[in-house]
Amino acid sequence: MSNILKIVLNRAGIVPRHFSTAVAATNTATTPTTPGSDLSDEPVNIRNPYKQERKLCILCRMKIHPDYKNVRLLSQFQSPYTGRIYGRHITGLCKAKHDLVQREIFKSQNSGFMGTYTKSVDFTHDPRLFDPERPMRPHKY
């Protein structure tokens, strides 16, 4: 960071402001540089500092593959009140994983592992992966 600051200040021909007079005096003594002779103001090759890191959904990050027998995992995506599957705007899963979770929940419900209108009482105190009250995207309706 300090390097970048130095380069930018040099380019603009600004002498950095210091509050101590002694330092300022020494600085002015060292700065006289003739334009063209100094190569320090050439463009530098650095990584784009504003580039965002790639976001991953929780199942992709943890490399979890949902399975219809893993009822504990699947019921984390189910409402404790109605047993319905939470939408993608609440769970924050990527589309492929959400479709997979939904498919496995249906399989699980059809083969009698999981309730359709209810969530097992054993799983009600499981850690919450998301907050249904605060969806990551606004509600569809």
């Binding site: 976001k55 219809y68 994983k97 083969s111 309730g115």
Partner: protein, 147 residues
């Protein structure tokens, strides 16, 4: 022969009865030329909801998992056979699938609408379907169509 997974829920029974039912189930697969790879007990527990099957109401059941190889056209017969068994509350056969690698697209999905691929495609479609419009700067000093 693809590998399938049979999950059965047996009704509440004594141990020897469960054994005989499982044997019967396994023999159905073996007699039709199938191969059993694995037999797993997933425990006896309460069902998520009461199930009515073969004139009885079930609240508890024993869960079992059978992994087997069989010809594809026999699955229908198995479903029918297990559906008729009075000791089986519910049975379902699924094909076992290896988890395939999925590239996470959450990052692209969270972009503003104008940058999202599906929205861009939607806009293109709308442009293509839009009705041709008369351009006012056509150089004519009158309107060539009926008003």
């Amino acid at each position: 022969m693809p590998t399938y997974e049979l999950s059965v829920i047996l009704r509440q029974m004594t141990r020897p009865e469960i054994v005989s039912t499982l044997k019967r189930t396994a023999e159905t697969i073996l007699n039709n030329g199938g191969i059993i790879r694995k037999l797993e007990n997933l425990g006896t527990r309460e069902l998520p909801h009461k199930m009515s099957e073969h004139g009885m109401v079930h609240r508890h059941g024993s869960y079992f998992l059978v992994q087997f190889d069989s010809a594809t056209h026999l699955i229908e017969d198995f479903n029918e056979e297990f559906g008729r068994d009075v000791d089986i509350v519910r049975s379902s056969i699924f094909k076992t699938q290896n988890p395939e690698f999925i590239r996470c697209t959450l990052h692209e999905e969270l972009l503003p609408p104008a940058y999202r691929k599906e929205v861009i495609e939607m806009m293109k479609l709308a442009q293509r379907k839009a009705k041709p419009k008369y351009r006012q700067q056509s150089g004519l000093d009158y309107y060539p169509f009926q008003k």
